[in-house]
Amino acid sequence: MVMFDYLIEHRDRVWELTVEHLQLTLLAVGFALPVAIVLALLIVRFKPLNLPVLGTLGVVYTIPSLAAFAFLIPVVGIGRQPALIVLASYAQLFLVRNIATGLRGVDPAVLEAARGMGMAPWQIALRVQFPLALPVIIAGIRIALVTTISLATIAAWINAGGLGELLFNGITRNNQSMIWAGTLAVTALALLADQVMRLLERMTAVSRARRAVG
């Protein structure tokens, strides 16, 4: 069957590209996350920044990814580096939005109690704010991962590697089986990332407390 031919015959190559693809995705989201946390803290703390920051990230997200890669070629060349920049920028929107929403969703009375009991600001952040916001934050990371996995296929166009190679090569060589292999692998990767993150969501203290209530 043409769908699985390439996948089976060249499974070592597909596996290699899948690992590369996953690395690219994790690196991009990994770089994006600390930046997103800082941005989210800023817009939660300084309300007037909310609209400009989220607006800018929204606009960034609407730039066609192919164009974004093309624009970066004269600046940083081709390869992994520009791919990571673009992917990390695209991931910002979901990350910042969800982290900020999660932090804002924490009951002010809970924060007041925490302050009133003598918790230092960093203790409040680490033991109260972030744990309570965690399910929403993890949901943001989940969406960011899934979108990045999908977007990263385009990165192959600037030689960043990953499963996109199978798609681009398949198209140029008119090799249906190769395109199928790339598509199936990307889809599987996205579904896997989604499930893993859902599992993590369920393991948070908030989710455990919710389940206990039933």
Partner: protein
């Protein structure tokens, strides 16, 4: 001497005597003001108060009178814009906020329990901050849960959302008491509870206070609650203290019409509920026929209800050990209840 004075001079149970098992702090407000930015009249305006160690003081007044602002300046959730607050003679402004707050129990209306932590972990927050050992914390948590009427075995591992409103507030109280604070700040803690739960918790809070003896500052707008709980009541209006006195004095001698209206000084039943039976009892004379008995520490409102229920003309007053110490009849209750009240409209009623 008026009968009002006679009643006033009979002391309330002296619950502000420091207990051996806990220490209590004195709190002094020294010309304290708070002016929020852009808000023309100050929320708190030059308030000076002396609160004795172990006293249960209720801050009472309509919303916006500054009572909560005054409370939150004690643990520095708000900083005063004028004057200073001293705990045991030390200005709170000179202490680090975290150290200060860890030594003060804090209970708020919405409980503020951490929803992602079990009951035991909620209660353990401050002891953990203070670096207590694990065994010590566990022991303390169990002790406190039992104290607030939530058997530790059953409730330790529950989450706040698995508890009723009243139970949540019990946990809130246990959490505030966890590290043996010498002061307890309570901001309308029972305001969101139904009437039955509220009065049960009021009674238990009073018991707990009698046992532990911390200084308590308690904010409410509910006069019944204030009267039931307070050793002394601070009545506030527009950022100022209008009157600071015992519930009995405030009801018998309201400082002005605002206080009189606020506390319902014209309400004879309320006044009776503030006068202990002993203050109106007559001495024993000879041997008496069987009368229904009432405790000397009960209030006259209870005594009146008992008289009416039992269709008796006289009650025998007994002390804590059950020995008869006096008698009480309707005319004695009447005399105690109809103390002079300054307002004309009240006088006209009689």
């Amino acid at each position: 001497m008026t009968s009002g004075d006679a009643i006033a001079s009979s002391p309330r149970p002296a619950s502000h005597v420091p207990r051996p098992d806990a220490t209590a702090s004195s709190i002094r407000f020294d010309h304290v003001s708070k002016q929020f930015r852009g808000n023309q009249p100050p929320a708190v305006d030059d308030v000076s108060l002396e609160i004795e160690p172990g006293e249960f003081v209720v801050l009472l007044g309509p919303s916006g009178c500054g009572k909560t602002t005054l409370l939150k300046m004690v643990n520095r959730l708000y900083e005063p814009t004028g004057g200073q607050i001293l705990i045991d003679g030390r200005p709170v402004s000179g202490m680090s906020t975290t150290t200060l707050r860890r030594g003060i129990g804090y209970v708020i209306q919405q409980t503020g329990l951490f929803p992602h932590m079990r009951v035991a972990d909620n209660v353990a927050v401050v002891p953990k901050l203070l670096g207590w050992g694990r065994g010590q914390i566990r022991e303390r948590v169990d002790e406190l849960l039992d104290l607030v009427g939530l058997p530790a075995q059953e409730y330790r591992r529950r989450y706040p959302a698995q508890l009723s409103g009243g139970q949540q507030q019990r946990v809130g109280l246990a959490r505030a008491l966890a590290a043996n604070p010498t002061t307890l700040l309570m901001d309308e803690p029972f305001g969101a509870l139904d009437a039955i739960t509220r009065s049960r918790l009021q009674a238990e809070l009073r018991q707990i206070h009698n046992r532990l003896g911390q200084t308590v500052l308690f904010v409410t707008h509910d006069i019944e609650e204030a009267v039931r709980l307070a050793d002394r009541i601070v009545i506030m209006r527009g950022g100022n203290v209008v009157q600071f006195d015992t519930p009995l004095q405030i009801v018998m001698h309201p400082a002005d019409e605002f206080v009189s209206d606020l506390v319902g000084a014209g309400d004879v039943l309320r006044r009776l509920s503030l006068v202990p039976v002993m203050a109106a009892a007559q001495p024993l004379e000879g041997t008496l026929p069987e009368h229904p008995v009432i405790a000397a520490s009960a209030d006259l409102r209870t005594a009146l209800a008992l008289l009416l229920e039992e269709r008796a003309d006289r009650l025998t007053v007994i002390d804590d050990d059950g020995h008869p110490v006096g008698t009480l009849d309707l005319s004695a209750i009447e005399t105690a209840g109809i103390a002079p009240v300054p307002e004309e409209q009240d006088a006209a009623r009689w």
